[in-house]
């Protein structure tokens, strides 16, 4: 006689799923959500010389780039809190960004040509970040110079905090902002990453 326990165990096995089933259905869901305008944030990660980068985009454009040291899970939860919990892993919306970053790290690209969603930066910090693409590839500028560019020469410390909270590092080049005495200064992705990016641009 079959026990209820054996029968229910066997029942569970009879509908057993595997990782491929879920992965296939997940991708189908992401495509359907995109088509229905429900995918408010799509994300993927890419491997780069400065480690794994998280890329996240709304329908307006790239909204967040995060280094591994920020903890990608924490960053995704913050995006859920700040923008919307309708977030799925979906590579397609970020294909162009990933391609341009590959070219950048291969020294074949000096500027980025992708739509940006600036909603995560506000006020003067946003003014600072908008001024940064004015520092050309392979060049650096001091915090003081950037304060001037952003329209408030006295706000040197605010430039520092704008760079430290840049939601779009690498793409918005806060790594090109250095101290006026020539020292490199800090970086949200770690000083090694800053060194690598400046060396990469200097070598091109």
């Amino acid at each position: 006689m079959i026990t209820e326990h054996d029968l229910t165990n066997s029942l569970v096995r009879s509908v057993a799923t595997n990782a491929d089933d879920i992965s296939r259905l997940h991708d189908r869901l992401a495509a359907a959500a995109e088509a229905d305008g429900l995918l408010e944030v799509a994300y993927r990660t890419i491997d780069t010389p400065v480690g794994s980068l998280l890329l996240a985009a709304t329908e307006l454009g790239l909204v967040r780039v995060a280094y591994a040291n920020e903890d990608h899970e924490v960053v995704l939860q913050a995006l859920a809190d700040q923008i919307s919990p309708r977030i799925l892993h979906s590579a397609q919306r970020l294909d162009e960004t990933a391609r341009e970053l590959d070219e950048y790290f291969a020294r074949r690209r000096h500027s980025f040509d992708i739509a940006l969603d600036w909603r995560l930066s506000k006020g003067f910090r946003s003014d600072v970040l908008h001024a940064l693409p004015g520092i050309g590839y392979g060049h650096t500028a001091s915090y003081g110079t950037v304060a001037q560019l952003a329209g408030n020469p006295k706000a040197v410390r605010a430039v520092g905090s704008a760079c430290a909270t840049n939601p779009l590092p690498v793409i918005v080049p806060c790594h090109r902002v250095v101290r006026s005495d020539g020292a490199m200064g800090g970086y949200l992705g770690g000083v090694e990453a800053k060194r690598l990016l400046l060396d990469l641009e200097a070598a091109a």
Binding site: S10, S84, P85
Partner: protein, 163 residues
Amino acid sequence: MARKPTFEVLVGTHGDTVLRVCRAVVGHADADDAWSETFLSAMRAYPHLQADANIEAWLVTIAHRKAVDIIRKTARVATPMAVPPDINVVADQGEVGHNPDLADALQRLPPKQRQAVAYHYLAGLPYTEVAAIMGGNPAAARRAAADAIASLRRSIPSNAIKK
């Protein structure tokens, strides 16, 4: 305040259970569609869900409504299909972890019995929750699940159950 996880986390945490439930209730052939419609509806409603809601019960409730639609549709167009002979061959070979005879027997049960079994035994929901999803009272839900287990037991030879 409770924070809402990303929908990606929801799919990762509950996608598997919902697929098992869909397979049990509508069968393997329609399970993918039921799963997809469930999660798409859930994603639409998710921002409005209370942050402290029982997410699994909520997903199973949506899956139930999608399954009822699918069962209604297939009942209108389809005639029951004979079991293809190769399924029995696979069963005789004792494929690990899968029992097509049992999956097939499950699909021959009345929908209410399949639902009660799926929501209680596969989703792990208590009968109060199962009754809330299916309508009716917890005693009726418990009876439907017990009837299902009894018929499955009768329809399966004891040597077909692998421990």
